[in-house]
Amino acid sequence: MTLPELLEPAVRTSGVAGAMVVSRDDGLLVAGTIRSQVNGSAVAALASRLAERVRVLAEAMGRAEPELIELWGSEGTLLAAPAGAGLLLVAVVSSGADPEPVRRELLRLTDKVA
């Protein structure tokens, strides 16, 4: 199964504006399905940077890296789940949508993608 095929269930989730696999080291978009209003490259770069910040924070706290990162804004939510092999699963959810289904989907996919 290809990465876009793996991501398809997440993308079909209600309220999801895009779901993608990102390379953590360089913030590049590896694969994804993205609706027109979302800039996939920008999401990839910013999400990987954010994940790195979270990793540094977790390390400072003596904790393991979180399984899921959620950045809630007034107009939408960014979700990121570190996967193995230096990859990051990312989804952008529109404001007002329930992030729980895509949250579950990302966590389910982390093992498969790695």
Binding site: L46, A64, P66, L68, E70, W72, E75
Partner: protein, 251 residues
């Protein structure tokens, strides 16, 4: 060196030229050279180290912290970056973190004569200081001592403390790390059209973490006491509100 760099902008002589300008006190020129070096060699720890030293000399501790942290990302054994971070931490009063970086720098550069004395100084200062709970602290009043932290946008401690899962007081580097995360959260939300960031939620072991911005210049972090804590978000919202009111009253 300037001529050499003009002829070949990709020349590594920028490292020597930038450092020479910095030592001469020509920080504006040194900054131009350092930024150009980072642009040419974005994965070279030495280039980031040079940029960090210039930023530090300019009094831009946050930017210096970012640059030295980036240097360590590309080379975790870069002694200069550890030394720089030790200096920043010491200047900020974060003595545990400073000592850790000095020790690492000493391991990497055992021949550096200044490092041993620096470590002794940091250790003496650390022994002389103990954590205190500020009067009227909303975090103390809420009974979340040990799992909540309130910092300013530079990472300076305003209230609270966080213990590691092992029960020991977590290091002082949490504040700057939290401030860095807040900066990137703000930038990410703005550039992606997510509006103003309202909360950051982290799920994982040993428990969840919630982050809020009680005021425009503060960051609150609350850690969950258990692996599953469904009400942690609501508790963080309440604490953010109380902390915001407390900070406003102090102004």
């Amino acid at each position: 060196m300037k001529l050499q760099l003009a002829r070949d902008p990709a020349s590594l002589v920028f490292l020597l030229l930038g450092e020479a300008l910095r030592r001469q006190g020509d920080l504006a020129a040194a900054l131009v050279i350092a930024e150009s070096g980072v642009a040419w060699y974005p994965e070279m720890a030495g280039a980031w180290d040079l940029l960090a030293r210039v930023r530090s000399d300019q009094g831009e501790g946050d930017l210096a912290f970012d640059a030295w942290t980036t240097a360590l990302r590309f080379d975790p054994d870069h002694a200069g970056a550890h030394k720089g971070l030790a200096f920043l931490a010491f200047r900020a009063g974060e003595l545990d973190r400073s000592a850790r970086h000095v020790r690492r720098a000493l391991e990497l550069s055992p021949a550096d004569p200044a490092l041993g004395e620096v470590l002794a100084r940091v250790s003496r200062a650390a022994v002389a200081r103990a954590p205190v709970e500020p009067a009227g602290s909303p975090l103390f009043a809420a009974g979340v001592s040990g799992r909540a932290l309130l910092v300013d946008l530079r990472g300076g401690l305003l209230d609270g403390r966080v213990e590691s899962p092992a029960g020991t007081l977590a290091g002082n580097e949490i504040g700057p790390a939290l401030a860095g995360l807040s900066r990137d959260a703000e930038r990410t939300a703005r550039l992606l059209g997510l509006g103003r960031w309202r909360r950051i939620s982290l799920a994982g072991k040993p428990g969840p973490v919630e982050i809020r911005g009680p005021t425009s210049d503060s960051i609150l972090m609350l850690t969950g006491p258990a692996a599953t804590e469904p009400d942690l978000g609501a508790e963080a919202d309440r604490l953010a509100s109380a902390s915001g009111a407390w900070l406003e009253a102090l102004r």
